[in-house]
């Protein structure tokens, strides 16, 4: 039964910006799906607002719409493209929800678009908790197993309070319906918890519905990934067991594949239930994931939930097994059956089987609580992690330790140095699941805790705990031995110890341990992920290391380039870097190299075995990379290691790799040092005749004060050694400077503080450029919408720059060339400039691919990362122009006059975090980056492009209603014009007394509302916060006050987040929003595919 012939075109819906709970995994899934559908001869139409995705590369689909994924915009695309079908199961909850909306508002019927991969009925059954409970009940009637936790559905706070009684009291779980990644759910231990969590849950749920449930805290948690075809063939692709028991969102849990502590009878029972559920829900063609809780005392099974779509877990399962779920789901959706699809890896056996593993996979979450110091770091059923690392080993201990070091975070690896803390205290701490609890457990083991004590404290399965004891015993043995014998080193390596760990235990240097190990000939071998435990020969070189006997790395002839990826997603280093790595793999393969990818992030396209010629799923530490380089050098010639595309992680390895004799492709480690070390970079700037803002280095308040006095407030202060804007603040006066130094005393004691002049009201500019040693290719010039001082990753920006003239571009080009040449870049460089009072300042330069490379590539239709990879390996810009990889003439600084305007907007995870009192965290932008992702809006004019970027990121800008305006004194002057414009557009203005007065003096009438701090009025007049909560405000403009008045703003902004009201925190952002609103009000906004934009741009370039 081959594919359906009635389908000619399919609209694939992506998942939009990276947010917590919905990350790069959907780029991986979506890219696979688009490629499959295209190869099946279908016209693929794609919508995804996220430019940093491979799926939105113009060659992946036939028509790529980087437009907001909202029913309004998707309808426009449907009306224009008239697809036969819509595939909503590969774009996460966003795509699924959009599909449901388009069904409900009749758009699908109107344009005769068939939903494939899932039907509305099964989506509802899977997603609606009440309907799903019915599914589980029917399954139990049929096969006698599986049940739901006892629960009550509630639509109001009264229902909620009554519900607790029905369930027999606290604790209870609160789960809002139809939210993504479990947003808004949590455990309520008392009525106060309940009112808070359920109150917010009712608001978050699009159906104002929450479910209260009996507590199954501490039970074992499992997941199965299933696929079903139209002939009702079902396979279980993977079982996953959570190391952390029930109570922690599976996205925040350490998880293990395959399940480790189930007998066959119990496993088959889960499998039977899973199959019965997928049938009952009616997923006919595609995948789903089902979560189970199992009572460790008697095996009682609760079916927690199912997702009738490809999910984060299915991406993990695909990487863990080698079974490409999304790819196969796409084939099933167009009519194939599982037995008709060959297994990619064996090529001879069909996909209608269940992968079997001869290794262990461990996934660990990566958190970013350091970015949100006020957020409560307790792990709950709401997902809070921003990324994950996966590791593969031949046993659990090896996989676990590899995974922990893949996190690339200080303290993530087990440490056996020093005296452990007090046992009782540690056991007490271990009771609460947090980031790094596993390290606390290890410390408790070191402090003498028994397995029983630890089980009682954590409910972590005794088998897993025993594995931690095993690791501890090995550590003890390493410590006690008189010397490092080969047997001892082998034992340590077999259980995943890194050279660094062994060194720390023995009081040696890491490189000494490595030398000893190499002298003894103890090196890892590389095994293959083959779906079948070696039963059949694998054709796909998807490798992982293990200290075992036999390696499977095949010899090769062609020179290899080893591309180092970027590791787990984190704030500041996300999918954008993966994008560049993937492009490098494509470009270098085309140029005749054998491409070898190294990465440990299971969400990404780079870790798809299809992306490169060889994939090493390995941690990105010096040790692990050196071993891979060694293995590949044994296999054939290695042309170089590419470190400049994966962000700071590989860049940080460059010097050490070079010192170990590894050839680094492109920009040399010495050049990287020139750009990164402040003193050296200062000299580069000096020679190029460029200026940096005045700055100084201080070791004490007195020194800092002296510097600040000299260069003038406000100043930007930060600890000297951190990256990504960590701990960076703008300080407006001496008092705040003192406070800053007090608060950061810990950081400052060991490292000096950098004090920079803060350029108030400056325009910040980002430049991405390529340099080959001779020619410069200016990739793109981006003008930030927020002023300098907001981290560039959090700032919206426009390309081409909207207010810069030809002279400015000329200056920027010259400055970029000067820096690129001075540093000695071979490949990409990103430079941040600030233009203040017509003086161009250089803020910083990064000799690597930046976060904006994919945005620039999409906006200018030039594959910058591909070109960078080629330049790194010795191609010249002139050659690439001749080849057609770069435009024959001109560059990103000479875009035609009518080039479209692209606006990048950052997406921030405010709604994910609560402080320990359960209140939201503040939403003010600062020099510290906190966004998780980005969207792009592209259109002919800035206003429309900006409006699209807002719709894609947060929800559409309002076109009428009430706007609340409250700005800091320094912003009052610049606020008047945009407020007037809003009034002209028909908005009613609400303002606090002070702001209202300024407006009145400027001829704008504003309704005065009470501040939160004033409380309700004598006649019950609500405060602004109450008004926002009641839905009486459509737009909020609230810029933070330098110091005082901050608290009121905090309340306003958090209320805005919880109600989903657009909240603008900079005056520049406000001006942009007004332009966007004006464009929206002016009439219909159209949609245009990237291919059309590119065609237009190419034509304009050539004319």
């Amino acid at each position: 039964m081959p594919k359906r012939n009635d389908l000619k075109s399919v609209l694939v819906v992506g998942s939009g910006p990276i947010v917590i709970g919905q990350a790069a995994e959907f780029d991986y899934s979506g890219t696979q799906a688009c490629r499959v559908l295209k190869s099946e001869g279908l016209r693929v139409i794609l919508v995804n607002s996220n430019p940093a995705t491979i799926m939105t590369d113009p060659e992946v689909a036939d028509a790529t719409y980087v437009e907001p994924i909202t029913p309004e915009y998707v309808e426009k695309i449907i009306a224009k493209e008239r697809p036969d079908a819509l595939l909503p199961t590969l774009g996460g909850q966003t795509a699924l929800n959009t599909a449901v909306s388009l069904h409900e508002n009749g758009v699908l019927a109107k344009y005769n678009v068939e939903l494939i991969g899932a039907n509305i009925d099964s989506i509802q059954k899977g997603e609606d908790r009440d309907l799903f409970k019915g599914v589980v009940e029917r399954v139990r009637e049929k096969i006698g197993h599986g049940e739901s936790a006892r629960s009550v559905i509630c639509h109001s706070m009264e229902d909620v309070l009554a519900g607790v009684e029905t369930l027999g009291g606290y604790p209870v779980v609160v789960r809002p319906s139809f939210t993504m990644g479990g947003a808004g759910s949590g455990f309520a231990h008392d009525e106060e918890d309940l009112r808070r969590i359920a109150g917010q849950g009712l608001t978050l749920s699009p159906t104002t519905e929450v479910l209260l449930e009996e507590s199954i805290l501490g039970w074992k948690e499992y997941e199965l990934e299933l696929m079903r075809d139209k002939h009702d063939n079902v396979v279980v692709v993977c079982s996953i067991e959570n190391f952390d028991p029930m109570g922690v969102h599976t996205g925040d849990s350490i998880t293990v594949a395959p399940a480790m502590t189930l007998t066959d009878r119990e496993y088959q029972r889960l499998r039977d239930i899973g199959i019965a559920v997928i049938r009952e829900v009616g997923v006919d063609t595609g995948g789903c994931n089902i979560q189970f809780a199992v009572n460790p005392d008697d095996g009682r099974i609760i079916v927690i939930e199912m997702n009738p779509r490809v999910s984060r877990s299915s991406a993990l399962a695909s990487k863990a097994t080698g079974f490409p779920i999304a790819k196969i789901a796409a084939r099933l959706a167009v009519g194939y059956t599982l037995d008709e699809i060959p297994n990619d890896i064996t090529r001879e056996t069909p996909a209608s089987f269940e992968p079997t593993l001869d290794y262990v996979v461990v996934k660990v979450p990566r958190f970013a609580f350091e970015k949100f110091p006020l957020a409560d770091a307790t792990l709950t059923t709401t997902m809070k992690s921003v990324g994950e690392a996966m590791a593969i080993g031949r046993n659990f201990t090896e996989a676990l330790q590899k995974a922990l070091r893949s996190l690339e975070k200080k303290g993530s690896q087990f440490s056996f140095a020093g005296t452990p803390g007090d046992k009782a205290t540690l056991l007490d701490i271990a009771q609460t699941p947090t980031d790094g609890r596993i390290n606390t457990v290890m410390e408790a083991i070191r402090a003498g805790a028994t397995p029983e004590e630890l089980f009682d404290a954590t409910r972590i399965d005794p088998w897993f705990l025993d594995q931690l004891y095993l690791i501890h015993e090995v550590a003890q043995e390493i410590e006690a031995a008189s010397e490092l014998t080969p047997e001892l080193l082998r034992l340590a390596k077999r259980h995943g110890f890194s050279d660094a760990q062994v060194a720390a235990i023995r009081g040696l240097r890491e490189d000494v341990v490595r030398e000893v190990r190499h002298a003894l000939g103890i090196r890892p071998v590389y095994k293959t992920v083959d779906t079948c435990a070696a039963e059949f020969a694998a054709k796909t070189p998807y490798h992982y290391s293990s200290y075992d006997e036999e390696t499977e790395v095949a010899p090769r002839e062609k020179p290899a380039v080893i591309i180092l990826g970027s590791g787990p997603n984190r704030i500041g280093q996300g999918i954008e870097f993966d994008y560049s790595c993937v492009h490098a793999a494509f470009a270098l393969a085309d140029a005749g190299y054998e491409t070898v990818m190294v990465n440990c992030n299971p969400e990404t396209v780079s870790t798809d075995y299809d992306t490169s010629d060889r994939l090493y799923f390995e941690p990105l530490t010096l040790e692990d990379v050196l071993e891979i380089v060694h293995a590949e050098q044994q296999a054939g010639p290695v042309a170089g290691v590419l470190v400049q595309l994966g962000g700071q992680t590989p860049l940080g390895l460059a010097q050490a790799l070079k010192d170990a004799g590894v050839p680094i492709a492109g920009t040399s480690p010495e050049a990287i040092h020139l750009a990164e070390e402040r003193g050296a970079f200062g000299r580069v700037l000096h020679e190029a005749g460029l200026t940096a803002p005045k700055h100084g280095t201080a070791f004490s308040f007195e020194e800092a004060k002296a510097i600040a006095d000299e260069i003038g407030y406000p100043v930007l202060v930060r600890p000297s050694y951190v990256l990504g804007g960590r701990g960076m603040e703008i300080v407006y006066d001496e008092e705040s400077l003192a406070t800053y130094l007090e608060q950061n005393a810990g950081l400052v004691s060991e490292h000096p503080v950098l004090v920079d002049r803060f350029l108030d009201d400056a325009i910040e500019i980002d430049v991405d450029a390529l340099y080959d040693g001779e020619d410069l290719y200016l990739g793109g010039v981006m003008e930030h919408i927020e002023e300098a001082g907001i981290h560039s990753g959090d700032s919206a920006c426009a390309l081409p720059p909207i207010t810069l003239g030809g002279f400015d571009i000329k200056r920027l080009r010259a400055a970029t060339l000067g820096i690129a040449a001075g540093v000695g870049v071979r490949g990409l460089i990103n430079i941040q400039f600030a233009l203040a009072g017509d003086i161009l300042y250089v803020l910083e330069a990064n000799p690597r691919a930046s976060r904006t490379v994919p945005f620039v590539s999409k906006a200018t239709a030039v594959p910058l990362a591909k070109a960078a990879a080629r330049v790194s390996l010795g191609a010249t810009i002139a050659e690439l122009r001749a080849e057609g990889l770069l435009p024959a003439e001109g560059d990103g600084g000479t875009l035609p006059m009518d080039a479209p305007i692209a606006v990048k907007e950052a997406v921030l995870p405010w709604n994910r975090f609560r402080d320990e009192h359960g209140r939201g965290v503040d939403t003010v932008l600062s020099p510290e980056m906190r966004s998780t992702g980005e969207v792009m809006g592209i259109d002919a004019h800035f206003g429309t492009a900006y409006a699209k970027s807002q719709a894609g990121a947060y929800g559409a800008l309002p076109t009428k209603g009430r706007a609340f305006v409250s700005v800091a004194n320094r912003d009052k002057r610049s606020m008047v014009f945009p407020v007037k414009a809003l009034v002209d557009l028909g908005f009613e203005i609400l303002a606090t007394a002070g702001t209202a007065e300024v407006l009145r003096r400027n001829g704008v009438e504003a309704t005065v509302v009470r501040k939160h701090s004033e409380g309700p009025g004598p006649n019950g007049e609500p405060t602004i916060v109450q008004l926002i909560h009641d839905g009486g405000v459509e737009l909020i403009v609230n810029t933070p006050f330098g110091t005082g008045g901050r608290l009121d703003g905090y309340e306003i902004r958090t209320a805005a987040v919880s109600r989903g009201v657009p909240s603008i925190t900079t005056v520049q952002g406000f001006a942009a929003a007004v332009q966007g609103i004006a464009s929206l009000s002016a009439g219909d906004i159209g949609v245009r595919s990237l291919q059309e934009h590119a065609e237009h741009l190419i034509a304009a370039r050539e004319s």
Binding site: M260, T263, D264, Q268, V360, N395, W463, E477, E535
Partner: protein, 391 residues
């Protein structure tokens, strides 16, 4: 229980008949053992595997690295003892964890004197067996350790699997009855069940009569050397031939008995060895697969419905029958009903003119997925049809 503690148990050596040697640690009993080296790819169900009589005289290599995690309980064994002659695992559990666990696997292996080895590169060994085929192997530990040449000579002196007649060694010596299970979950009194099946034990697994009993069948399990007379003495509605170890080419007695059963038109169902015997009774040959099918993830297509089931396999031999045509036999037309999609091996036979069918794999699924349980229903409906015909 200290095996694979930071300090490992004593050394052990695994020697293949082609001379490849793996060094690891002793696991289970200490001593020496020989058998045919085979690998099993199931990730769960080691207890069922160990107690499956079909593994008699085989040294089983587990491709799943962690074995023993759920300990051992009294409910899951497929027979009264462990049958494997040797056991090869990479990382045995130090501490089992499961609410049904009663004791450790290590202790259980010691109790049954099963010599094992742990800590070797089981994937390398599996790949070797995949490329070179199943072969003889020895595991040596403790006092049995000697120089490689001596050990290799010992391995090469061990008997081969081809030509081995083993069913008699594993099957029950005396007949016994597994009562049917009523709708209330209680045993149905002997003689009161809807159907009676005579099940010839060639190495039967405990789950097989249980699956029949669940469907209201009273199962009379008979010794491997039973005659047609013995079979018909229980007045059966159906006859069943079980799985079992050894080379089907040696099962001449059972082939002859089955021909009688077919001749009398009694409904017949065979599993595994039973399938090979049906093949031979119909005149097909059998042959030894290079390295067999042993695992619980094998895709089998039921050619009568087109559906694919994920199934449990444990066979080193297969029936040589034409896949794409109906064959004429002395018992009428026969077709290949089931095929393994991995390699197109014959996985099931069905007679078109008589009530007899068999499968090469394990619908009783212990361990393994329950996808093929419908075959027991098919057997029941064959018996029902006969009943209604004769009524």
């Amino acid at each position: 229980m200290t095996a694979q503690n930071a300090k490992a148990a004593g050394p052990a050596v695994l020697v293949l008949e082609d001379g490849r040697t793996f060094r690891g640690s002793a696991y289970g009993a200490v001593g020496e053992t020989f058998g045919e080296a085979v690998f099993s790819t199931g990730m769960s169900g080691y207890q069922e595997t160990l107690t499956d009589p079909s593994y008699h005289r085989q040294v089983v290599v587990m491709t799943a690295p962690h074995v023993g995690n759920t300990g051992v309980n009294d409910d899951d064994p497929e027979s009264s003892r462990i049958w494997v002659s040797g056991y090869v695992v990479r990382d045995p559990a130090r501490r089992p964890s499961n609410w049904r666990s009663q004791r450790t696997l290590d202790d259980e292996l010691v109790k049954y004197g099963v010599v094992g080895i742990s800590g070797i590169d089981t994937r390398a060994l599996t790949r070797h067996l995949r490329e070179r085929g199943a072969m003889r192997v020895g595991i040596f530990s403790g006092a049995a350790l000697a120089d490689d040449a001596t050990l290799l000579a010992k391995v090469r002196n061990a008997p081969e699997m081809a030509g081995a007649d083993l069913a008699g060694e594993v099957a029950t010596a005396e007949p016994y009855v597994v009562p049917a299970i009523g709708p209330d979950g209680e045993a149905v009194p002997i003689g009161a069940a809807k159907f009676t099946v005579a099940a010839v034990d060639l190495g039967i697994k405990g789950m097989t009569p249980h699956r029949m009993a669940e469907r209201g069948i009273e199962v009379h399990v008979l010794p491997a050397n039973s005659t047609a007379e013995d079979i018909y003495a229980v007045n059966p509605d159906g006859v069943f031939f079980s799985n079992g170890p050894g080379d089907p080419a040696t099962a001449d007695h059972q082939v002859a008995v089955l021909r009688e059963v077919l001749g009398r038109g009694t409904p017949f169902f065979g599993i595994c060895f039973g399938n090979q015997i049906l093949g031979r009774a119909l005149g097909f040959g059998t042959y030894k697969l290079k390295y067999g099918h042993r695992g619980i993830n094998q895709p089998v297509q039921d050619r009568t419905t087109g559906k694919v089931e994920v199934t449990a396999h444990n066979h080193g031999f297969a029936v040589d029958a034409p896949l794409d045509e109906v064959s004429e036999t002395p018992f009428g037309r026969v077709e290949v009903t089931h095929v393994c999609l991995n390699d197109n091996v014959v996985e099931g036979l069905g007679l078109l003119d008589r009530p007899a069918f068999s499968v090469q794999y394990h619908p009783e699924a212990a361990a393994g997925p329950h996808d093929a349980a419908y075959l027991f229903d098919r057997f029941v409906s064959l018996m029902s049809q006969m009943e209604s015909k004769s009524a």
